[in-house]
C-alpha cells in the first residue's frame, strides 16, 4: 500500500522536495543546538519553556481532534465522515510524531530521554504524557492501518479493531487533558493554576484541529480527484464554529476570574499579555491580533450562508487556526512565565535557529502526512476508477 507514495505527479514531488529542504535546514540547526546546547534558543532562566513546548501543546490538540471524526462515525454511524475518518487518523499520527519531536528537541540531554521509561515516575505528569501520547500514536497507527487496508480490499475490518477504536475516543481526550495537567498542577505558576485549562485546551483543539482538516480536505479536492464530500466538510465547519465559541467563552471566564478578583498574581499575567507590564509589551500586538482574528473568524463562520461557500469556509478556518496557534503556541506558555516566580520581567522571543528547528519538525510531520494522504488518495482514486 505504501508503494503508492512512490509514484506521484510533479506537484507531489515538489511538495516532498520542499518538505525535505525544511527538514534538512531544521536538522542542520538541530545539530548546532546538539553541540552548543539550548543557549542558541531564546529561552532563559526565567522563561525555560518556549517555542518548542508551545508547539507541542498546540499539536497535541490537533492530534486529539481526530476524535471529532471517529466518534460520530463509529459510535453514531454518521456515514458522511466515512470517507475522511482515515484522514483524521493520519493527521493524528503526524501530529503525535511532531509532538514527540518537539519534546525531544527541547531536551537538554536528548540522549537520555528514555530515562523517562527506564525510571517510570507515576507522580510526574510528564511521565503520563509520554505514556498517553505513545499509546495514542500506536492506537492510531493500528486503527488506520487495519481499517484502511480492509477498505482497500473491500472487506469489513477485523472485529477485534472495534474495541480499540472505542478506546481511542477517551484516549484522545486524555492526551490533551494530561497535557493541560502538565501546566495546571503547578502552585508555582498562578497563570496556569486554573481548572478551566484542560477544558479550554479541548475546546481550542476541537476548533483548530477540524479547521486544519477542512483546509486539508479542500486542498485535496483542489489538487487531486479526492472529494471529501460537502456534507462532511459542512458538518466539520459547524463543529469548528461551536468549539470556537466555547473556547472564546472559556477564555472570557478565565479573564473574568483573574481580573474581577483583582488578585495580583493572577491578574499580572493577563496584563502582561494584553497590556504589557512596565514597558514589556512584546506579546501585546500578537495577543490582540489573535483575539481579533479568532472573534472575527467565528462571527464570519457563524453565518451558514457564508460557511457554505468553501472559499469563505477556508478563510474562516485559516483564521481560527492562526488565532489558536498564537493563543496556545505563544501566549499560553510564555504568559505563564512573565512575571517570573520572583516577580522579574524577562521577555522571550524565539531565535532564528529555534524557529528553523521548529520548521524542520513541522516538515517531518507534514512529510508523514503527505505520504499517508498520498496513499489514501491514490487508493481512493483506484476504487473510484
Amino acid at each position: 500500500m505504501l508503494e503508492k507514495a512512490l509514484r506521484g505527479s510533479g506537484k507531489y514531488w515538489g511538495l516532498v522536495g520542499f518538505l525535505l529542504v525544511l527538514i534538512g535546514a531544521g536538522l542542520g540547526c538541530y545539530l548546532w543546538q546538539f553541540r552548543e546546547g539550548l543557549q542558541i534558543t531564546g529561552l532563559s532562566r526565567d522563561v525555560p519553556w518556549g517555542f518548542y513546548i508551545s508547539q507541542f501543546t498546540f499539536l497535541v490538540g490537533v492530534a486529539a481532534s481526530a476524535v471529532i471524526l471517529v466518534l460520530p462515525y463509529y459510535l453514531h454511524d454518521y456515514k458522511a465522515f466515512g470517507r475522511i475518518v482515515v484522514l483524521g487518523e493520519f493527521l493524528a499520527v503526524a501530529a503525535v510524531i511532531m509532538c514527540m519531536l518537539f519534546v525531544f528537541v527541547d531536551m537538554g540531554q536528548p540522549m537520555r530521554v528514555l530515562n523517562v521509561m527506564l525510571h517510570p515516575t507515576p507522580q510526574s505528569v510528564m511521565f503520563w504524557d509520554v505514556l498517553v501520547l505513545s499509546g495514542y500514536l500506536v492506537l492510531n497507527v493500528v486503527i488506520s492501518r487495519v481499517t484502511f487496508s480492509a477498505e482497500v480490499k473491500g472487506v469489513a475490518p477485523a472485529a477485534w479493531i472495534r474495541p480499540l477504536i472505542v478506546l481511542s475516543i477517551p484516549w484522545a481526550v486524555s492526551i490533551h487533558t494530561v497535557t493541560a495537567f502538565l501546566y495546571s498542577g503547578l502552585g508555582a505558576r498562578p497563570f496556569w493554576l486554573t481548572a478551566i485549562l484542560a477544558p479550554r485546551f479541548l475546546a481550542s483543539a476541537f476548533s483548530s484541529g477540524p479547521s486544519l482538516l477542512i483546509l486539508l480536505c479542500l486542498l485535496l479536492k483542489k489538487f487531486t480527484r479526492f472529494d471529501a464530500g460537502s456534507k462532511a466538510i459542512q458538518k466539520l465547519g459547524v463543529i469548528v464554529v461551536y468549539a470556537m465559541l466555547v473556547n472564546i467563552f472559556f477564555v472570557g471566564v478565565e479573564l473574568f476570574t483573574a481580573l474581577y478578583s483583582d488578585i495580583p498574581e493572577h491578574k499580572h499575567h493577563f496584563q502582561y499579555l494584553f497590556l504589557g507590564l512596565e514597558g514589556k509589551t512584546m506579546m501585546v500586538p500578537w495577543m490582540w491580533f489573535s483575539q481579533t482574528v479568532g472573534m472575527l473568524s467565528v462571527l464570519f463562520l457563524l453565518n451558514p450562508k457564508v460557511r457554505q461557500k468553501e472559499r469563505f469556509l477556508a478563510l474562516g478556518c485559516l483564521g481560527v487556526i492562526v488565532a489558536i496557534w498564537i493563543e496556545k503556541g505563544l501566549g499560553m506558555v510564555v504568559g505563564g512565565f512573565v512575571p517570573s516566580t520572583q516577580g522579574s520581567l524577562m521577555e522571550y522571543w524565539p531565535t532564528a535557529p529555534e524557529v528553523v528547528i521548529g520548521l524542520g519538525v513541522y516538515g517531518i510531520g507534514f512529510l508523514v502526512l503527505t505520504v499517508l494522504y498520498k496513499v489514501a488518495v491514490s487508493e481512493r482514486e483506484l476504487e473510484e476508477a
Binding site: 546546547g37 532563559s44 525555560p48 537538554g108 540531554q109 530515562n115 502552585g187
Partner: protein, 261 residues
C-alpha cells in the same frame, strides 16, 4: 485529626484510581506517602536538616558575598554574567520579592530593599521532586532535595515547578566559566539542571554547609544550620521562640529555610 486526614487521602486515592485513572491517584498517593514518611522521620528520630537566616544580621554586612563565594567555589558553580543564563545556588534578592505577601506599600524602604539570602528551600513537600519525570531530583531521608545530574534529561519541568526560582539550567557548557575547577566536586555538563544540595557531601563528613561555615568565619553569624527533629537543637529553639517566615507558605511546600526579620 492528622490520621483522619490520612485516611481521607487514602480513600480519595482509591476513589480517584477507580474513577479518574491511576494518574490522579498517584498525585494524591504521593502526598500521603510524603506525609507518612515525614511523620515516621519525626517519630523515629531521623534527622531533618534545616537552615535559619537572620536577615537583619545578614543585611548589616552590606555587599558581603562570603557565603555565596564559598558555595560557588566549593561546588564549581560557573560565573555567567548574562542574567538569562546565569547559574546560582545561593544569592541575594530584595525582601520585596522574597516575601511578596509580607511586605506592603507602607513597609519601610530599609525593609523592602533589604537584601535577603535565597537558596533552595529543601521543601518537605517539594514540587520539583513531584514533577521530575526521571527522579533525577529526589528528597533524601535527612532533608536535602538532591539532584542526580547524570540522570537529568534537561526537560526543565523542575525549573517550571519550583516556586522559588532556586533551580538553574545549564544553557551552555559551564566549564569555561569556572575559574578554578575543584576536582573534589564534579562540575556539571551542559543541558542539566543544578541547585543547592545543602552541602550533603559535606554533611556526610560531619562538616557544616559551606555557606554556614563561611558566614561564621566572617563573624556575621547570620546563618544557622541544624536538625529540626532535635528539640534541643539551636535552630529548633530559635524557630520555636521567634516569629519566623517561610517563603510562599500558602503553597504548602513546607520550606526548610526559615527567615527571621
Amino acid at each position: 485529626m492528622e490520621s483522619g486526614r490520612r485516611e481521607f487521602l487514602k480513600t480519595a486515592a482509591g476513589a480517584a484510581a477507580l474513577g479518574l485513572g491511576a494518574g490522579a491517584a498517584s498525585f494524591v498517593g504521593a502526598e500521603a506517602l510524603a506525609r507518612s514518611r515525614a511523620g515516621q522521620a519525626a517519630a523515629g528520630g531521623g534527622k531533618r536538616y534545616a537552615l535559619a537566616v537572620d536577615t537583619k544580621k545578614c543585611a548589616e554586612r552590606e555587599g558581603c558575598r562570603a557565603c555565596i563565594d564559598a558555595c560557588h567555589v566549593t561546588h564549581n558553580v560557573p560565573r555567567i554574567e548574562n542574567r538569562e543564563e546565569e547559574i546560582k545556588w545561593v544569592w541575594k534578592e530584595e525582601a520585596e520579592w522574597v516575601f511578596q505577601d509580607r511586605v506592603h506599600e507602607y513597609s519601610g524602604a530599609e525593609l523592602r530593599r533589604r537584601p535577603v539570602l535565597v537558596l533552595c528551600n529543601h521543601c518537605d513537600n517539594p514540587p520539583c521532586v513531584r514533577v521530575c519525570p526521571t527522579q533525577a531530583t529526589f528528597k533524601s531521608a535527612d532533608g536535602p532535595v538532591m539532584m542526580d545530574p547524570h540522570r537529568c534529561i534537561g526537560c526543565r519541568y523542575c525549573v517550571v515547578g519550583c516556586p522559588y526560582g532556586a533551580r538553574s539550567f545549564n544553557w551552555k557548557d559551564p566549564r569555561p566559566y569556572i575559574e578554578h575547577v575543584d576536582p573534589a566536586y564534579p562540575p556539571r555538563a551542559r543541558g542539566v539542571v543544578e541547585k543547592c544540595t545543602m552541602c550533603s557531601e559535606r554533611l556526610a563528613h560531619g562538616l557544616l554547609p559551606a555557606c554556614v561555615e563561611a558566614c561564621a568565619r566572617e563573624g556575621a553569624g547570620a546563618l544557622l544550620f541544624g536538625d529540626m527533629n532535635d528539640p534541643e537543637s539551636e535552630i529548633r529553639k530559635r524557630v520555636e521562640s521567634s516569629l519566623s517566615l517561610r517563603r510562599k507558605e500558602h503553597l504548602g511546600t513546607r520550606p526548610q529555610v526559615y527567615y527571621t526579620l
